[in-house]
Symmetry: C2
DNA sequence: CTGTATCCTTAGGGATACTG
DNA sequence: CAGTATCCCTAAGGATACAG
């Protein structure tokens, strides 16, 4: 198994360790592109993740430095998840994947305006998406 | 599970179905960036894939339209795998992933010249890599 | 609401022997 | 060489109940 290698040198190996499972990329999508921040919101995504799986995934993502678990300063019971720069830097990966899927799977759809802008001005779009995610954080 | 949805609309879902497992992306890497074309070559990659897994992955990749299984016209026993355009269009995805891993994992390395060119002239690099893969095919 | 704790099932994958 | 065919095993994931 790729993740058991001690001296791990291949970039693809590392990526597979961090988000090469069945759920992490979907959770990242919801946090980064759908603007979700709470457990309950993540639970509602149409793929139907189980509660124990979501919890374990969130923990691993925190360990891997993708998210930070925070509580609302007024109501301590309110938990939300903040994306790190490391996670935000996966936006281009998600967009590239989306572009590919939209081309090759007829049943796949993505916001056309998003895809158009990714083709025409990718840098600016990425910067905007990052900014949007950052300002959503607080 | 994401793959069981009938009306699958999210691009990330589709990508996960096609290459969201532990091996497909590594096999693609070897075919696309390392120039491997034969079963025996794919067997030697450092992650150590099992023979049955490699065989099943190659079959699924053919079903999914990523590769074409061919035999040498002179020596029919010689089998090799040819990448489709659908697979070649994943080069940007692999490069984006690599860029990210190199930044965030200190143990990860990639050819620096490759990464430099991906930053400075991505379109040209991608075109070159595709061409290289295509000419290798025959 | 945000998770733990269990229990259970299954698909994915490792090891190895074997085949045309 | 390019795989099949088995056997086995475990980690990943579903379902559900429950807790703070």
């Amino acid at each position: 198994m790729p993740s058991s290698k001690l001296n791990n040198k291949c970039p693809i190996d590392y990526a597979l360790e961090v988000f090469g499972d069945r759920w992490t990329l979907l959770v990242l999508r919801d946090l980064m592109l759908s603007g979700k921040r709470h457990y309950r919101e993540l639970m509602t995504s149409k793929e139907g993740i189980a509660t124990n799986i979501l919890a374990s995934r969130l923990q691993k993502m925190e360990t891997d430095g993708l998210i930070i678990r925070k509580q609302n300063s007024e109501d301590k019971r309110q938990i939300f998840y903040e994306l790190t720069e490391k996670a935000l830097d996966l936006i281009p990966v998600l967009l590239e994947i989306s572009r590919w899927s939209v081309i090759y799977d007829k049943d796949t759809a993505a916001p056309p305006e998003l895809m158009r802008r990714f083709n025409e001005e990718p840098q600016q779009l990425i910067a905007e998406l990052k900014d949007a995610a950052r300002t959503r954080q607080t």
